[in-house]
Symmetry: C2
Subunit: 920 residues, 2 copies
């Protein structure tokens, strides 16, 4: 028997169930599960994701046996519902929707009212006794089908529609009468014929086939791919197609349609939450073209149905043990549930809901911890508007996604990307957003729309992205042509600063002062659960007492990386640093170093005081010395200029001497040159000065009654001998200093493992090192041979090759044609990299070296303390990897500490429950 | 019982034997072995190398039990020889010599005639009835002991001696009479007292102790350490001390002393070979202060002893199965053998001797192959003077070390090092050389001395170093003060070019034309044996047909690396290359590439024709593109100049446009930037052009009836996806080209493994690559994080730290004091690197990655062909490593091919006979 590819639901039971998301997609599995639960769901069937993959495997042709299965299910549906597709008397209308394993809102295309044609529309008019409804359904279908299936942009149809309204003096869609709509249907069909040189398909079976294939194709449209890429969803899952009998919320005033959440998705509060529209189809709510009513108002308007909806959704929440995001339609006072799924929510809401549900004993603490993607927490760590600030609030919209943002107003996604690339903070302002705006939303600090509700595209996407969003702010009048908006008589131009409060919905002119968030309330409870579970310690990379304080506030358990060189770039220090570097004799060098000593000592005292006994890992000077000097080429130009203008001889000579020294220090590949421990070995007096500063500071702070625990880290070690040579100096200074100050405290001397050779010879190096810290930035550089400074260009190319012409590198058109080469390809090139290896640890390559380093290191020094201090230390996937290979701690930037804490807890939980992990 | 530390020999038998080199040293083991063979050897005892190590362990104090053993052996010696140390009537005189496991000629200090003092000298005079001999022995002892043991430089004594000769009008030493020598002894003792503020030690037991300790200390003198370092001898072996009864070659005309070889050490001819001096001590022969007689003349002068010497040495050669380098003394017509050891020889001689001895059935072919250090072969591959050249031969000296050299004359080792560092070829010209000149000899192309014989310091060391040397050329008058020499009325100043023919002894003015050597005669036979044994194939790195021809002549079995970029640096091509790089559109870039195509195609045709079906590995373009453009900083200076002098606007604009593109391509770390396969992926049209050139050339050459076997190598791959992307292009072009030309030939597409990630993910990469070639230059760079261009400075420091002050890096004095820091250290710093990792493969780190790459690669592609094409491919130790880990071939520069062939054969033999390897 061939595998089953189509699954029926309806008549009280379903062939599938909620666990079958892989093959039914989220929506299909939900419909099956609801049907089985006895929830009223319009009947239908789901064509599985496997069929989608077959569709791609056979290059757009679905195998015969699958077609036969679809046909059989269609007959069954016709039997169950007592209508027939294409029957002019009693036509079956269906919706065709996509639905993949992971919800991809706004990404997949949907067709409603399929089955209408010139004949069945008449049957519908007669049967419903509502010609206006029938032709409104038909014109909607014509437009949607043309847009989604026939690739004729919606805009053309909207223009005709708007013209008609103008012609008829109609303010709203509902003001148009049946005849107007009939006329529009004719105009829409004429437009299709004109553009496509063929008639709009009248055969409902053909319509169904075309729509089904369009859903399949939509899996690979640019928006879907972009969404998958940014959300780490694999490209080979495929989408299911849900074919479901239509029910109508727009057949009269006893009809309605709505969406809702079982709890407030913005705040997490346990309140029934949502919106509905009377006499409307679902798209009207989501698209934000009509501003809907609050769902609580339905209690008065349709009390019986409201109660039924409350009961059903409460049952669903209990069943799914999660907030439900549901869609429903009321047709002639009868309630139909169209969809339910776990509701997207703001991070704040997610935390509150998770904590509440534990209290309600719906879920366990461990389940609660797995409910958040660690990355999401970032949203809670971003600033809010200072409540004490005096603000120029000019309007108030819907508080669609909380937080606060400030930036320059821009009116198009392209401009947003452009300015953001230049490092500017931008707020994207639109009448309403559509999937085409996703790029712009992604880079914006915040989003402001004039239209749409809490479940409009802008609101849903912004919450998910963790962006501040104020939606449906109809007090603003956006003109996207002239790039400005008017509000209360004021005009805001492109580039003017505005601020948003996504928690209150306020729109503010100018830059509002933002303040940092706190780790209190539900969030504090939640994080305390994470801390109780995790095994990995989390430290922060911090170079200043201020950073150290933020890190402690966010729960850091020490400093994993203090980069001492950052201290030397300060304005008052760099001249002394230069004096040290330019010194021709050791005496002069030591004289300069002795001026740096007290400064460094003060730096370290500040860190020790903040960390109150937590370990502070201090890395000795790492960068090549020429980083502290004027640039070689600029000096060359300067000398040339001075000579040509016959400047004073002595000035020229001085510049030339400086240039000479800069030339001496010049390196072709400074990343691979005289830096790291090589510096300290070449100039041991630098190491001695830094060691003195570290241990004298420790003695001083100990004297203040504060515990200290310095860990001295030797950078860029490739051989045990280097470690030995530097350690000798550090230990000698440490012992001498403690003796002199009559103080004792624990200290260790370890190394950064940031070169492949250090990883593969970690057994030798561990005999000399008290601890290892993997510097995965540098390790990634040398393992790949990618300079972080220079590789952006080709790393981008590697990640985007599937979008590019394999011949010339130009961006491909949608149809895989290249405008430059005039060639159309049959397949896309393979992307060489899936993610930027400087953001997410390359586990296969670099990770293998890390694992080897840990194992080898502990083979000669059992119990060796091992951590990681590259950028990867704050990346959740990389944190999980660090946990798996047995690291002791991760260290990341202070703002990523809570993210790492949660990721570390999840790593423990995932280890316990294999397969319960999130998407890979 | 305590371990035995002192070993007696004499009276027909010895406590040790020849196999005990480790503890008796080479000389001591030889004396024991000779004694056991019945060869007449003066009796004595050897204090073992273990005693030396004890001496160092106890910081210069020998343990009591060892002292007791020495004392017992001294008594035994006195009994055997019937004389007593310090006995005024019948004094025993002894020599005290060093002798370590590996012969270190000229490095270790020796004291002769020990036991003489103011009383015993009188006894010696009476007993020998030769006061002149007695006082000559005493003055020699005083001088030598003062120099070697008391650290009073010999020069002071020589000055007094020369003064005396002047005063006495003596031309030669022998012209001085007993009274003169007695007077000199007094003056010598006075000098000692004046300098050291104490008397010259008169107690022979004290003399013996002091001398013994001086020998121990000499193990760590700078010359010895330098020798060990350059010859890879471990520092912890220690030296033995040989105390042996003196016999005298200088007691009259029936006395003589000499050194010899059982075969000619310069040519390998089977002829008795050596030099002797009548009425002389051994040092007179070796020091080169008197020009000795050929040993064949001894047949007439001392026929009976000569015959005995011939018999004994022939027996020794048969016993040791190797050429013997022996020392003997004749005292009153009685022959004593003082030493025998395997003789050092030129490489040509070594080859001839090895081949002859196989013919004589003395040794096997396999033993013969192990008789040469592969590195030595280099000497046979260097040029000789073109026999057809017209030469200005101005003098003829001894043909001390064969080959030919040309260079600027320099007169001091320091200047030789200085100029050689600047890249100049130099010839070191000295009156005679001493161990202090070793640094200079090491860097010189050739050595010319005015004094000394075939076994003088210059001759012995030069042969060993494989340097051309003309010694004892008394026609030249060297003035080391004014830095010039006179010859036949001409003056040669420092810097003037001269040439040497080390095979004929000719000294030539000007630059003589040199020609390459051939692989014929014994060398050809020898190499054919190596080829029969080795498993590793040997290929050459060659970019031009000329290089390819040399490689074939040297036995290369293919090209392992053709660097295509070298072809683009040619003067006629670089403008086109620049045009390609500066192109703003693909059309323009392809236009430039189409001009490069025919040039590349011709290059490859030349290579294929030379290699006649042997595989030719062609690496696609590798370096970053800006290497082909003017330098950024120079352009910046140029633009600045042009602007300041108000040059024509259009010229400035053009330069600025160029600068703009150069800026675009500028990278901070080009080694880690857009190069290697990243280039070919970014600009696929470059790969396409190169592939076309490779395969079109192959088709053309196939048409000429010559077989071809191109192997296309994708550089700098770190991920399988990169390999896949480039291979796709190459295979498409290959198939298309062969189809178009209707030709078929084998080809493969593989990659260079030169990044750590490629090594650790070799299993993935091998699924795409037909072959691997380890690019160990780049792999070393990224594994260590050492840029080859920038790391010289600290790699030198890492290799020389034991010579440097750990505080300031200044060179330490002999006594471990630092003149800068005014500190004296008790121990030296550890060297962090033993060898330059760019010359000898770092087996522990980089080698581990290579091994991993081979194993992982073959895990997914069994039988994967694997080679190496870094500089290490020609380094014998690295070749052995490559053999051990199962590589298929090594590829090296053409001139190193024979070295690699021999190293590959030895690797097989060493594998068979573990422990029979050479020094590590």
């Amino acid at each position: 028997m061939a595998a089953k590819r189509v699954f029926f639901f309806g008549g009280g039971k379903a062939e599938g169930n909620g666990a079958m998301k892989d093959i039914l997609g989220g929506k299909g599995a939900g419909l099956a599960e609801m049907t089985n639960l006895g929830v009223p769901v319009p009947p239908g069937f789901t064509i599985s994701t496997e069929a989608c993959n077959l569709y791609y495997r056979y290059r757009g042709k679905l195998p015969q046996d699958v077609k036969a299965e679809i046909s059989a299910n269609l007959s069954k549906l016709e039997r169950v519902i007592g209508k027939k597709l294409g029957d002019p008397k009693n036509p079956l209308l269906v919706s065709v929707r996509s639905g993949s394993k992971f919800s991809m809102p706004g990404m997949m295309d949907t067709v409603l009212n399929l089955g209408l044609n010139d004949k069945t529309v008449e049957g519908l008019a007669q049967k419903s006794r509502n010609p206006r409804f029938a032709y409104d359904s038909y014109r909607r279908f014509l437009m949607m089908f043309s847009d989604v299936v026939l690739d004729l942009p919606k805009g053309n149809f909207v223009d005709i529609f708007d013209e008609k309204k103008l012609e008829r003096g109609a303010a709203y869609d509902v003001d148009l009468v049946a005849e107007d709509l009939m006329d529009l249907c004719g105009k829409f069909k004429a437009l299709v014929k004109e553009r496509l040189k063929r008639e709009f398909p009248q055969d409902p079976l053909v319509q169904l086939e075309l729509a089904r294939d369009a859903v399949f194709r939509s899996w690979n449209n640019d928006r879907a791919k972009y969404y998958r890429k940014t959300n780490g969803i694999p490209d080979d899952l495929g989408t299911a197609v849900n074919v479901q009998a239509m029910v109508f919320g727009n057949m009269g005033d006893d009809c309605a349609t709505g969406v809702g959440f079982t709890r407030n998705p913005a705040t997490g509060a346990k309140e029934f939450y949502g919106e509905y529209l009377v006499n409307a189809q679902g798209e009207d709510v989501v698209a934000g073209t009509r501003t809907p009513h609050q769902i609580r108002d339905m209690k008065k308007a349709l009390p019986r149905v409201f109660d039924q909806l409350m009961r059903i959704t409460a049952k669903l929440e209990k069943h799914y043990k999660d907030v439900q995001d549901f869609e429903f339609t009321i047709e002639g006072n009868t309630l139909y549930m169209l969809q339910t799924r776990n509701g997207k929510r703001t991070t704040a809401a997610a935390v509150k809901i998770a904590v509440d549900m534990v209290k309600e004993k719906l879920i366990t603490k461990e389940e609660a911890l797995l409910r958040l993607e660690p990355q999401q927490i970032d949203q809670l760590l971003h600033p809010v508007i200072d409540p004490k600030a005096r603000l120029d609030v000019v309007a108030r919209g819907l508080p669609a996604s909380p937080g606060a943002a400030t930036g320059a107003a821009v009116f198009h996604a392209e401009r947003a990307v452009e300015w953001a690339t230049e490092g500017k903070d931008v707020i994207l302002v639109r009448k309403e957003t559509s999937p085409d705006d996703i790029h712009g939303m992604d880079v914006a600090r915040g989003i402001l729309t004039a239209k749409g509700g809490m479940t409009s595209h802008a609101a849903v996407v912004a919450r998910q992205m963790g962006k501040t969003c104020v939606a449906g702010c109809d007090a603003i009048d956006v003109d996207e042509t002239t790039n400005r908006f008017m509000v209360g008589g004021k005009i805001v131009h492109e580039g003017d600063f505005i601020s948003l409060n996504g928690t209150t919905g306020e729109v503010i002119l100018g830059k509002a002062p933002l303040i940092a968030p706190a780790m209190t309330g539900a969030f504090g409870v939640f994080m305390s659960w994470a801390d109780a579970v995790r095994r990995l310690k989390v430290r922060a990379n911090a170079d200043t007492p201020r950073d150290a304080r933020v890190a402690r506030d966010f729960g850091a358990e020490g400093i994993g990386l203090c980069r001492t060189e950052h201290m030397f770039f300060a304005e008052d220090r760099i001249p002394i640093m230069q004096e040290m570097i330019l010194a021709r004799t050791m005496e002069n060098r030591e004289a300069a170093l002795s001026k740096l000593l007290p400064m460094q000592r003060d730096d370290f005292k500040g860190l020790y005081r903040e960390m109150k006994g937590y370990p502070v890992t201090i890395r000795l000077l790492d960068p090549p010395l020429h980083e502290f000097l004027p640039k070689r080429e600029e000096l060359m130009v300067e000398v040339t200029k001075l000579e040509l203008i016959h400047a004073d001889r002595s000035i020229i000579e001085e510049k030339k001497r400086l240039l000479e020294r800069v030339e001496e220090l010049h390196e072709f590949n400074p990343m691979l040159g005289l830096r790291g421990c090589r510096l300290g070995i070449y100039y041991p007096e630098i190491t001695r000065m830094q060691a003195r500063a570290i241990f004298e500071a420790a003695c001083d702070v100990t004297r203040e009654g504060i515990r200290v625990h310095p860990e001295v880290m030797i950078p860029l070690v490739s051989m045990a001998g280097e470690m030995r040579a530097q350690k000798e100096i550090v230990v000698a200074v440490a012992e001498e200093t403690m003796r002199r100050h009559k103080k004792k405290f624990p200290y260790t001397v370890g190394t950064m493992i940031e070169l492949p050779r250090a990883a593969v010879t970690a057994d030798e190096i561990a005999t000399e090192a008290d601890f290892f810290s993997f510097g995965t930035n540098d390790l990634t550089q040398t393992t790949f041979g990618f300079s972080r400074d220079d590789s952006g260009k080709f790393i981008q190319n590697y990640m985007n090759r599937s979008e590019l012409c394999p011949q010339c590198g130009a961006k491909l058109e949608k149809d895989l044609s290249c405008a430059v080469c005039k060639v159309t390809y049959t397949k896309r090139a393979e992307n060489i990299l899936q993610a930027d290896v400087f953001a997410t640890l390359d586990q296969v390559g670099v990770g293998q070296l890390v694992r080897m380093g840990v194992e080898k290191g502990r083979s000669t020094r059992p119990g060796l303390k091992v951590g990681i201090c590259g950028e990867h230390g704050g990346d959740p996937k990389s944190v999980e990897f660090c946990h798996r290979i047995g690291l002791d701690y991760v260290s990341c930037s202070p703002y990523r500490v809570p993210i790492a804490r949660l990721a570390a807890a999840q790593a423990v939980l995932r280890e316990k429950k294999p397969g319960k992990g999130g998407k890979k």
